[in-house]
Symmetry: C2
Subunit: 173 residues, 2 copies
DNA sequence: GACATATGATCTGCCAGACAACACATATCG
DNA sequence: CGATATGTGTTGTCTGGCAGATCATATGTC
């Protein structure tokens, strides 16, 4: 039951270079939709999955760091972790070095759950990039990784911190 | 594919292939932030800008088509266009072929405004991709364009779900 | 033509999430 | 010690997504 390629009559013939924002947005929307299907059982869907992923693989020391890293509001992070704790995926521990901070660590259940989800998410990613050849997907992954990492090195704004000016002053007129 | 430490910034040391979602999300967040600064005067910010862009350059016949194309809810599109009309950027016309539909067309002011904004948005895009060499940016633009266009023509939502017209999910993240 | 169904636009109501402001505990620095 | 900054949680507000209803019109079927 393949969709008729002509149903979306706008097609891509008119797609211009100027649609960069639309391209990124469309990719993210499709990615979110595909991943949401896979991680439907995780509290807060893809958000919860991403938090769990960073908790297991990342090294974000605090909840704020976690929130800033993922672009989530820190007040939302509270409820998000609450629900992950309730689902027995993560635990809140006292940070040994800073009694203000909670260290969020994954439970055994969280780790096994994540491992399974990662497999499926990876498959969903490849499906999302289905039009590209495998080696092209790797190129895209690599470029996105470099851009994202570069952005994090320069711009450490999170939602919540004092607004850090992006190096865009030259952009304005 | 081990994490390639060729980008020797410390903060990226832990970046893995599995962070594809984080990479795309980070890119979109940075892009949105940069563009928002540039298009701050347009009603509804980057949303309004994108609508104006499609109205001028695209060929979306109706408001629903516009909304589906941009991943915006159709009920929001009503208010969005209301404000664009009030700002004298676009007009609502009766569609000559379908008296239910409104054709959204750009005013002269909308066209000149968009032309100026496009320049700045393009600059903001390049700033966002600042870590990449110019030719790499073109590669990234091309790959994103192909993925996005491919997703629009054949929507495959990962786990073999039924083909959907355009399942837009929450993007904000 | 009569009828049923589908589509485009709008409005209403509900809810999740972003955001700011505040409170509290604790860390850090002078 | 005092001032300031940071981590977390709580509250309230506001925007936007989303479902559902409504109305006008188009399309397909008999």
């Amino acid at each position: 039951m393949a969709t008729n390629p002509e149903t979306t009559h706008e097609r891509c013939r008119a797609r211009r270079e100027g649609d960069f924002g639309w391209h990124v947005g469309t990719l993210l929307r499709a990615y979110e939709a595909a991943v949401a299907e896979v991680v439907a059982d995780v509290p807060h869907g893809s958000r919860g999955y991403q938090v769990l992923d960073v908790v297991v693989h990342g090294d974000q020391p605090t909840q704020v760091a976690l929130a800033a890293h993922l672009g989530i509001d820190r007040t939302v992070m509270t409820y998000l972790i609450d629900d992950l704790v309730e689902a027995d995926l993560v635990l809140r521990e006292q940070s040994p070095t800073d009694r203000r901070a909670r260290r969020v660590v994954a439970t055994a259940s969280g780790r096994t759950t994540l491992a399974e989800l990662e497999r499926r998410v990876r498959a969903a990613e490849d499906a999302t990039m289905g039009v590209l050849a495998p080696d092209e997907r790797e190129v895209l992954r690599g470029l996105l990784r470099r851009v994202a990492c570069g952005l994090r090195d320069i711009d450490l704004t999170g939602t919540g911190g004092p607004p850090v000016e992006l190096p865009m002053a030259a952009v304005r007129s």
